[in-house]
């Protein structure tokens, strides 16, 4: 959930974004597949996944990207604007199996993390660059990336880029 509004002046270079914990489950992958219309069997069919050489069903890359978006949106607040987000899918992540209808089996928990690397003004916009990444349960980075956000300034309370009426 978005917290208190973040202002550009309050951001410190080197500071970390609040981490976001995620548990990928086979159930989550099914929901995601339906939500975006990606019915690639790589993400639900063990035999197909083995044939494709990834071992077992893997977490969708775009789902991991969406987790990173959630982390950045929660941090920057509603007056912020996400200008750019990129990530690379460097390693496979394997979902937890379901124990029952509601809960997964014990296992891995992923952490989305980020760190501020740069603050600058660009054509009047108050920009912040961040390194962002996802760590698997062993603390290994599987999904490194970058984000640029535009934040409101305490000095100039103009509309953030990307804002419009209606």
């Amino acid at each position: 959930m978005p917290g208190k509004q973040l202002y550009w002046e309050d951001v410190l270079i080197g500071s970390e974004l609040p981490a976001l914990a995620k548990v990928a489950t086979t159930q989550m992958l099914v929901k995601w597949a339906g939500a975006i219309g990606d019915f690639n069997p790589l993400h639900y069919d063990e035999t197909f996944a083995a044939t494709e050489g990834v071992g077992q069903v893997i977490v969708h890359g775009p789902l991991k990207r969406a987790w990173l978006v959630q982390m950045v949106m929660d941090w920057m607040g509603e007056e912020g604007f996400l200008k750019m987000l990129s990530c690379q899918f460097r390693a496979m992540d394997y979902p937890r199996r379901m124990r029952d209808f509601f809960d997964p089996q014990p296992g891995e928990t992923w952490r989305c993390r980020g760190r501020v690397t740069k603050k600058y003004l660009e054509t009047g916009a108050h920009c912040v660059d961040c390194d962002i990444w996802i760590e698997n349960g062993r603390g290994e980075v599987t999904t490194p990336g970058l984000a640029t956000v535009v934040l409101p300034s305490k000095e100039r309370r103009g509309p953030a880029p990307g804002q419009q009426s209606g």
Partner: protein
């Protein structure tokens, strides 16, 4: 060396896909991620926000995702690209990387036209043999004709 049949795909422009950004689709997308942000699901809350309507999470451009969905939604350009590359011996695919540039927020009710173009195709040596990288750039234009976002996706064939 990639055969000319493959490299001549660079620059090819795919069909434009028109996507209606529906609030129910936004809700299901946010639910799948496990994102409780009220901007994506609470109409009253979203109306009072600066967005004035349900916001689409950045990176959601309407259902289905035109590039990933197989079956009837699998776009002809991507099928053609993967088929031609498969003839060179690369039949298995992975999603390698993505970069989104956002210019304007997308809201429920927007109609987005997405047009892909093959930006680059190149071969690289990997741990488990050679891989082919296909870079696809998609531009997203809203109903007012504004560029709202760009995506650059790297598909790996191996």
């Amino acid at each position: 060396m990639l055969p000319e049949e493959v490299t001549q795909l660079i620059g090819r422009v795919g069909d434009t896909v028109v996507l209606e950004v529906e609030k129910g689709a936004i809700r299901r997308y946010a639910d799948a991620i496990g994102d409780p942000n009220p901007l994506f699901r609470d109409e009253g809350y979203a109306r009072r926000s600066k967005f004035g309507a349900i916001l689409a999470p950045p990176g959601f451009f309407g259902w289905p995702d035109k590039w990933i969905a197989p079956g009837p939604f699998f776009p002809p350009l991507r099928l053609e690209v993967t088929d031609i590359i498969a003839k060179s011996g690369y039949s298995r695919g992975l999603y390698g990387a993505v970069r989104h540039d956002f210019y304007h927020p997308i809201r429920a009710g927007d109609v987005i036209s997405a047009t892909p173009v093959v930006k680059d195709i190149y071969e690289r040596e990997g741990k488990a043999g050679n891989m082919v990288f296909v870079v696809i750039e998609t531009t997203y234009i809203d109903q007012a004709g504004r560029l709202v976002a760009k995506a650059q996706e790297t598909l790996i064939r191996r």
